[in-house]
Amino acid sequence: MASTNFDIKTYPGFKAVTLLCLIVLYAPLVVVTIYSFNASQSLTNWEGISLRWYADVFSGPESSKFKEAAKNSFIIAIIAATVSTSIATLAATGMVRGGKFKLRTVSFGLISLPLMVPEIVTAVATLIFFNSIGFDRGIMTILLAHIAFCIPFAYLPISARMQGIEDSYEQAAQDLYATKRQAFTKILLPLMMPGIISGFLLAFIVSLDDFIITNFVKGAGVETLPTAIFGSVKQGIKPNIMAISTMLLGVSVVMVTISYFVSKKDNTK
């Protein structure tokens, strides 16, 4: 019986397709990582392992541009992720612990709006908006745009987590004369921490990685890492771009991995 059951569930070739899928997903990233260590000046020939392109990123002719861009990117990502995670945490509490209310569907639609509107449309709309109110483009416009579109990315893991936490803990606290504010800060927030950290990290990556919206709302001369990379790539892929890409790729993978393990952690037990 067990073997027939197994048989019914398995289709020939599905495993092969899955493996093919993983190869397609990872091959470009692996190849770029490998070639970022290439000692050769040319992209095509392999001349052994070296760190020269990493050194080039930090001290080469373009290093000041990349340093400035990296600084902007990280400042924006940290602030945008912090603000959007705070907003998302409050919103998730209102949505998940706020009972039934008329504007619930509308609120959820509003929160997921940045996911539904194509990114290029958000980019155009944001540029036009800042232009129409006479707001000069620069770091501030990038930051505001990032805060807005990071909200759903922070909201989803947070609200998912909150739905998994029974409110009996908060009820118990209130039975013991804790105020609602205390029940929130002393009980719910600590229980929510894995979801909040996970949401923060996802928002951080989304901000760090954004190109399209940043490219529209950044002022002249202000660059983030993705826009600086795009500018360089337009003149052809160079080995130093592969080194910088590999580093950025590493940051994303580490962050997502942390987010994955943190969100799996169950601290209600």
């Binding site: 019914i8 899928c21 706020g98 609200s159």
Partner: protein, 309 residues
């Protein structure tokens, strides 16, 4: 959107009912000011007069939409004919996004199915493996893809070295490269909803079909597919919608011949064409198309839920 099901969920309580408005206010304000108001302002701009070198003059005009749909000759006084240039660009975007969606479905469905039929504790690991690349910068992924596929790139080197081909395949700057790039950009959006649907599927149904002498593929087609259809449709929409408006894959992998909506819009704000109302109008048309697709989808999902799906 895929997570909509998760948040519409059951476990809502009213512990903080009194504070609800204050809790939601920051999100409402931020999103209304920074997303909703901009989209409305974009709608307004699409009906304004263009200022050369970017920007607008505050004068009502239908010129942007007129330019999109009608050709009035060089001096604008010929009888209007349908202008096919921009419609063709939209059509190409739809076609490319459709091809990328199909490619994602053909690869994504078996993958999602395979993952959903693994041991329960292994499924999250597989899902994680599929989603990691999604979190890597889209620009870097697209550049990596271009590097891999180049005429002198590692893929062609590899194929020549193992003797499969004699001269390099020209993949970059073709339609196929764009489709591959879009597939690569959005594949997890296809896999995740299908995975979720297959995971909920009751395999006793397949077993019953097998007991009645249905072949495996008949069972797949007649029993499993109808049951997981909402997941498949969700996956297709989640790949199709962002593909249609994408900018990086067509720009970096497609070259000038494979212009898509995203590039057309970008050019209005960055390049020398610089026609803001026209860019706003093209964005509005794109947004309208996307919202129509999403509305049809939402209605179908609601219907499926009502019929006990």
């Amino acid at each position: 959107m895929a997570a909509g099901a998760a948040s519409g969920g059951s476990a809502t309580t009213d512990t903080y009912k009194e504070a609800r408005t204050w809790l939601l206010l920051p999100a409402w304000v931020t999103l209304c000011i920074l997303i909703l108001a901009p989209v409305l302002m974009m709608l307004v701009y699409s009906f304004l007069t263009k200022e050369f070198r970017g920007g607008v003059i505050w004068e009502f005009s239908l010129a942007a939409y007129d330019q999109f749909f009608f050709d009035r000759g060089l001096f604008g006084d010929d009888p209007p004919k349908i202008e096919w240039t921009y419609i063709a660009i939209f059509w190409r975007s739809i076609w490319q996004a459709g091809a990328a969606t199909l490619l994602s479905l053909v690869i994504g469905f078996p993958t999602a199915y395979f993952i959903a039929t693994r041991a329960e504790n292994m499924r999250p690991v597989w899902v994680f493996l599929i989603t990691i690349p999604y979190w890597v910068n889209l620009l870097i992924r697209t550049v990596s893809m271009k590097f891999l596929l180049r005429d002198q790139g590692p893929l062609n080197d590899f194929l020549i070295n193992i003797g499969l081909i004699d001269s390099p395949l020209h993949i970059v700057n073709t339609n196929f490269a764009v489709q591959l790039g879009l597939f690569y950009s959005y594949l997890p959006f296809m896999v995740l909803p299908i995975y979720a649907a297959v995971e909920r599927y009751n395999f006793n149904l397949s077993e019953a079909a097998a007991d009645l002498y249905a072949s495996k593929w008949t069972t797949l087609r007649r029993i499993l597919l109808p049951a997981v259809k909402p997941g498949v449709i969700a996956g297709c929409i989640l790949v199709f919608v962002p593909s249609m408006g994408s900018f990086l894959a067509p720009d970096l992998l497609g070259g000038a011949k494979n212009f898509m909506i995203g590039s057309l819009i970008e050019e209005q704000f960055k390049g020398n064409a610089g026609n803001w109302p026209f860019g706003a109008a093209a964005s509005m048309i794109l947004l309208t198309m996307v919202l129509i697709i999403l509305m049809i989808f939402a209605r179908q999902q609601a219907k499926a839920e009502k019929s006990g799906g």
